[in-house]
């Protein structure tokens, strides 16, 4: 397909890998973080790790929206799903995220009406088809997904739907990046910037990384050549002594983002004072809730959710994985007690989670570990 095939050319890939090799200084260790779960998935799927010199290490960041949802939030969703007359809708991966008393899939097995949707619009359709039921959409995701939820809420308002509401767990990308950069146990040399979040927010919000922290950022697409070229661009900045935000994904990402999307988000959402991230704790102004103008469509207010904070299971090291402090296979329960079929931690749930991506594609080539 156009826009896909030309970015999977093996010969070009080898050429870029050669460029990368020519840019690294022997004896220097390079630690680059790919922020986005989609990149993590692609890196393992296409074996990009194996094309890199041994001293270029990729660290997997907190950009999988399923993986950063804390257990208490899942419990809140399950509590709403068990209310009489509720149809609880969410994305597929979210159904398998474990809460303290099981997952939404377990709640469905126990009799709750939990349904998977591909988009918030599907949830709206279910609400129209079931006027005597309360339909709740469990909204997760970064700025990529938030506009979709915002537009759906505007449609619900326009159509006067009273049996539809949203449990908003959308998060924003910049605050956790700042938290990671402030973290003393993680030294990074550069960032592979999130491609599709940037479609919405643009490249400008990442300028603080070179300005305040002196680290290069290259916004990247998701095909193997995109990621290889982004790595090459970061290493070239480092070799040249430059430090800036560059956009490798120009065919998709405008530097200013999508202004219409930003407008609709500003109308429908407002920042929470703080939001809990799995593994990262509470981060100020990192989560979204419905604005006052849309408060009547807020499921949290409509159903008064418990809002109890639940600690992660002790055996699970998702927090360290999300911060890039350990590799997925270094977790004590990786691939044994915790697998994609029976996940303990969130990183093993979504196909974009670092643990699941590594379990599915990378675990047979582990001898190429970076030291």
């Amino acid at each position: 397909m156009k826009f896909v095939d030309e970015f999977r050319d093996a010969e070009l890939g080898r050429a870029v890998a050669g460029e990368i090799l020519s840019l690294v200084e022997p004896g220097r260790h390079y630690k680059l973080m790919e922020v986005c779960g989609g990149h993590t998935h692609a890196i393992y799927k296409y074996g990009i790790d194996d094309l890199l010199p041994a001293n270029v290490e990729l660290v997997h960041g907190p950009g999988c929206p399923v993986c950063v949802i804390p257990m208490g939030r899942v419990d809140d969703g399950i509590a709403v799903a068990h209310r009489d007359g509720v149809i609880f809708t969410c994305f597929g991966d979210m159904m398998r995220v474990p809460g303290s008393q099981g997952s939404l899939l377990d709640a469905k097995a126990a009799g709750a009406d939990v349904r998977m949707v591909y988009s918030p619009l599907d949830a709206l359709r279910i609400a129209k088809q079931n006027p005597d039921r309360e339909v709740v959409f469990f909204a997760i995701g970064f700025e990529t997904t938030a506009p979709s939820t915002a537009l759906t809420l505007k449609r619900a308002r326009l159509e006067g739907l009273r049996n539809f509401s949203v449990m908003c767990s959308h998060v924003t990308i910049v605050p956790p990046l700042r938290a990671l950069l402030e973290s003393p146990d993680l030294r990074l040399d550069g960032f592979i910037g999130p491609g599709h979040v940037s479609t919405v927010v643009g490249a400008r919000p990442f300028e603080f990384i070179p300005v305040d922290y002196g680290r290069p950022v290259v916004i990247s697409g998701f095909e193997p050549l995109d990621i290889l070229q982004a790595i090459e661009m970061i290493l070239r900045q480092l070799a040249d002594g430059r430090c800036e935000v560059e956009n490798q994904y120009k065919r998709v990402v405008p530097y200013e983002g999508n202004l219409r999307a930003l407008e609709v988000m500003a109308e429908v959402f407002e920042l929470r004072p703080h939001f809990e991230w799995r593994g990262l704790g509470f981060i100020s102004h990192s989560g979204l809730k419905l604005s006052d103008a849309y408060a009547d469509l807020d499921a949290e207010a409509r159903f008064s959710v418990p809002g109890v904070r639940v600690a992660d299971p002790k055996a699970c090291q998702c927090g360290e994985v999300l911060k890039g402090v350990i590799k997925p296979w270094e977790c004590k329960v990786f691939g044994t007690a915790c697998t994609p079929e029976r996940p303990i931690g969130t990183c093993m749930v979504s196909s974009e989670g670092a643990c699941a991506a590594y379990y599915n594609f990378g675990r047979f080539a582990r001898e190429r570990q970076v030291v």
Binding site: G63, F91, D93, M94, T144, T145, V252
Partner: protein, 76 residues
């Protein structure tokens, strides 16, 4: 249920920072919706309010049922 079954693809198209290119087949201007086709021919109704106006043949980047941007020809 595996991740594949839950999402209908090996890569969850709805949950992550992931968009898929889709081609516009027909447009409903009044409702800001378009019928779009995946590369494999599957069809889906897509919200186009953020990229309107669109026309048949346009290639859009779609995430969670919403078009986020129009794809541009890669520079040669």
């Amino acid at each position: 249920m595996s991740a594949d079954e839950s999402c209908g693809s090996e890569h969850c198209i709805t949950c992550g920072d992931d968009g898929v290119p889709m081609t516009v087949l027909a447009v409903d201007l009044d409702r800001a919706l378009a019928l779009c086709a995946h590369a494999d021919g599957r069809r889906e109704t897509v919200e186009t309010a953020l990229v309107a106006p669109v026309a048949p043949g346009d290639v859009l980047l779609v995430h969670a049922g919403t078009a986020l941007t129009r794809l541009l020809e890669p520079a040669t």
